[in-house]
């Protein structure tokens, strides 16, 4: 049981950190700080995965989010005015709509957590080696179609977005 308690403490700590960084994303005036706060929020989520002994998932989350949020940071610098936040302008919009959407989302997730019967808490998890192997077999076995099509879809979306962004510029650049 002590193992579980220690685990719970860490879980709560990282969860609170994730929520706090998420709040910082909207409270700060600087765009770059906002992007990097989101990054650390995701890192905290990855740490939560590690605490829950899903090692591969946790490491993957930490790795991917670092790179993705950094790319987002540069896009924010490009497209937002005052990325340094020194003008201290309020950059939030559609406050009513977003508050309602957030509230509904919170309610839905809480209901999702409490209502269904998730089964008993697992008292022991397979070791990290077995987990990685099982994950590999799952990804390339039963779930191969799902992941491959997802991958192709994302790639197509990326290529399409890039083309849409570049083509009008080529026309302008006569």
């Amino acid at each position: 049981m002590t193992g579980m308690t220690v685990q719970m403490i860490f879980l709560v700590f990282f969860g609170a950190a994730a929520v706090w960084f998420g709040i910082v994303v909207f409270r700060t005036h600087s765009m770059v700080r906002s992007a990097l706060a989101l990054l650390f929020s995701q890192t905290a989520v990855g740490a939560m995965f590690l605490v829950m002994q899903a090692e591969f998932l946790g490491v993957l989350q930490i790795m991917m989010m670092a790179t993705e949020m950094s790319v987002m940071a540069i896009f924010m610098v490009m497209f937002m005015m005052d990325p340094g936040g020194l003008g201290e302008m309020d950059m939030t919009h559609q406050k009513r709509l977003s508050l309602s959407a957030g509230g509904i989302g919170l309610l839905a997730s809480l209901l999702l957590v409490w209502l269904p019967d998730w089964g008993p808490v697992a008292l022991s998890v397979p070791g990290a080696h077995e987990q990685a192997q099982a994950l590999g077999r799952e990804l390339l076995g039963r779930s191969m179609l799902v992941f491959q099509s997802a991958g192709l879809t994302i790639l197509t979306a990326m290529v399409a977005a890039t083309m849409v962004a570049i083509v009008p510029n080529a026309e302008q650049r006569k």
Binding site: E55, T67, S70
Partner: protein, 299 residues
Amino acid sequence: MTVAIVLLSLALGAYLLAVIERWAVHGHLSLTGPAWAALALLGRESVLARKSDRLFFEIGPVLLLVAGLLAVAVIPLAPGLIISDLATGALFLNAALAYVLVALIMAGWGPNGAYAMIAGWRFLGQFIAYAMLIVMPITAVAMRAESLSTVQIVTSQAQLWNVIYQPIGFVLFVVAAMGLAWLPPLDLPDATGELAGGVEADYTGARLAVLRLGRMTIILALAGATVTFYLGGWLGPWLPPWAWSAIKIMLVAAAMLGVGRYMPRIREARYLALSWKLGISLALANIFIVGVIALVVPL
């Protein structure tokens, strides 16, 4: 106990790397040089730019050092001499080194200076180039070892080192590693001739010392990774395992530091083009070839 030994050898290794780097950049070979330089840096005042992002300015170098230390934690120096033998060691190494990018973005954005900021964003561009080429060769290596654990990867090379088994992957990994540690000729964020020091330009005093120490740790981690993944880790005849590790890591690191002296810096656009057009095709081919050989040849 193991942690202490590994950290001590890390410190010694980082010091030796500083000696080698001083020789590569300035041409003086001096064993006490870095010690004096470190002491001198501690005595210099720290200068803070106006309207800087103080948080990022402070955290940048520290995050760099932390990323390096985390990366070193999964490098095996000898059987049993590893800080943390994670089952996903190779992936964890990559995850830790991804924070080098975050640290440099912070170090670039923090000081509110033109040179640093351009350098920080240039490193992001460089990252886009090397990111895939760091991960894909690791995939091929893990395929052979049938595990992501660094210890398993080393033991899988008992019969044949990966540098001979997967030479394409080796070359790609080393070049990508040099891009990650921003070593010349891929030192776009640090370019003295173009950006007067780039991300390091606005750091002085103790913070600069931390930044440089962080960089040495990262180079050490990358040399360690190259040795672990491709050069057989601690494997070798006659000498004890830790000696082999030490020799190999030092040689690889010295080669990485020295090669940039003899060529001009690469252009960013060409680096990106080469990495994506040539590099990724080769990496995919490497994975395919390794897969076929692994299925066919029992090695």
